[in-house]
Symmetry: C2
Subunit: 369 residues, 2 copies
Amino acid sequence: MAKILTAQTQYFTFDKLVLESKQELKNVTVAYETYGNLNAAKTNAILIAHAFSGDAHAAGFHAGDDKPGWWDSMIGSAKAFDTDKYFVICSNVLGGCAGSTGPSSINPDTNKPYALDFPVITVADMVSAQKKLIDFLGIKKLLSVAGGSMGGMQVLQWAVAYPESLYSVIPIATTMKHSPQQIAFNEVARQSIMADVEWNKGDYYGAKHQPYRGLAVARMIGHITYMSDKSMEEKFSRNRKTASNSSGADFAADFEVEGYLQYRGDSFTKRFDANSYLYITKAMDLFDVSGYKHVAKNKDLKFLVISFASDWLYPSYQSENTVKQLKLKGYNTTYIEIKSTYGHDAFLLEVEGETKLIKHFLNKVSKEI
Amino acid sequence: MAKILTAQTQYFTFDKLVLESKQELKNVTVAYETYGNLNAAKTNAILIAHAFSGDAHAAGFHAGDDKPGWWDSMIGSAKAFDTDKYFVICSNVLGGCAGSTGPSSINPDTNKPYALDFPVITVADMVSAQKKLIDFLGIKKLLSVAGGSMGGMQVLQWAVAYPESLYSVIPIATTMKHSPQQIAFNEVARQSIMADVEWNKGDYYGAKHQPYRGLAVARMIGHITYMSDKSMEEKFSRNRKTASNSSGADFAADFEVEGYLQYRGDSFTKRFDANSYLYITKAMDLFDVSGYKHVAKNKDLKFLVISFASDWLYPSYQSENTVKQLKLKGYNTTYIEIKSTYGHDAFLLEVEGETKLIKHFLNKVSKEI
């Protein structure tokens, strides 16, 4: 039987981070977890970068919890990121709300939460903070950085910013830059939050009412884009929530899909900060490494690029564009489109396909060190 | 030079309409316009059914306006619906807010606007009201009923409910029933409206503040689904609204696509009623003629079914399912998927392709009467 991982969030703090905007962020905290053991040569470390709403708790169980971390299916003994072999690290992104410094953190200049005084941050800033953590852990070169969706953007940013600190990278279901459609979905979500009077220009911390309604609608939009037309059909079809076929004019949920979205929207408000939603989606929209050159510093860097056939939020053509650029620059690049009906959620659900690819890839990279 | 149509909205009223729910709606008004002339035999009448946010003003210019009706490119002298040959009618749907009875109308029982006391209405109810108008105009049998999107649902409903009153129908970019993804987009839009405190459980008529912010976000979601990934790329790419590359933390529009959506959302609030949004989208979601039998009453009824290659809101497979059912039942059915990059908006924009198909089809139908 596979060992069950117990997990605990740790906190790394440092004095300041100079942001891409040249602004300085003071007293920065990075929440992180690690699984497995770092070898003596410190060559078996893998950084996992989480997606938009993820956190540092990628695997294992926190004491008392009955649900494991968000990528537990992929991280653990004998799993894709095999903790018997590798030392796996995951940290909450800068701008987040799960332990790392973000707009809900206390501004040392005012002793109040930053709210909109928090500076605009970028994916490059998220990665700078991760680099400081990796340095702190004494790791000179990561065996790999892997992640899906916004996690994949961080992966690509690592390859651009710190190619000499990497043996390999695994960008999954991601893009070098958001298309206008991807920006549009984020913008509508932001508008939904900012339309909530309780948002109060970002100044709602400690207030009696919170911008939960706007945040819930934003999350509902997200969930539509994470599934595919087909996976929604398979999961919900036109099934009704109640036996009744005649809907009242109260506009409560008639269909199962409506109940599902409402549930996901509501539960999201219990764990996510509305301002973090604004800052992190903006970082995604501003991200653009489609013209980068720096990655040429390490021609031995290996890429495993994965996309999913039914993912219409980060469609395969975006991964194909990444692969085209990498191949043009002469990189060792493997690209696989996994057949799936799960849509963008596939990067969390297609465990078998991903495990096979990633295990093999990491084995090969490890041997060639 | 083609003649320029002048148009004027007219109002047809009747005492009551028995709804699908068996409820009675009293003092019903149907706003409508007509273009061209009814022939002596009354066999050249075509009903145009509008999409979700349309109105009776389909073609021509209202006195003083510099913009014509919403399908003016298709209706007029020598156009697809040639007003030199045909008598074209368009009416605002029941539940709407452009002259026909809807939730913003005065409830004769209370002398106040209905708001949520307005009964739930269905696409079948919209079509019953249209049938009363057609009867009032003295037309026994329509040469055709045509419409795109929700207009196409009304077209299919006409074929189900009144097959003996039709020579032909033209359902465009539509479906026999909404998929869970289509329901989901409507539900998120409804939730956005209902999340606006100014919505006030539908009771906002005459109030100081209106639920414009929720309504604008709902419309923004809609506009994303009306375009395609490709048409957004062609129209906006990642173009910035301002010269600045560094965005401030005010979360104003950085990208052109954001400015576009905000503009469309805001301007929509000036012409559309939030409660109508709820009632009409609910009618679309409840619509389901996938199991209908009645259409068998008129085996001579001709179908022209049109879909568009890049339409992901009403994807071609839905039109193909309609066609499959019609052919199984032995109907004279022509189906064309028009190549287009415009997404769902194609039914308003692919004028050349539609004109060719529809002109030819109507010619044929007219000759065979």
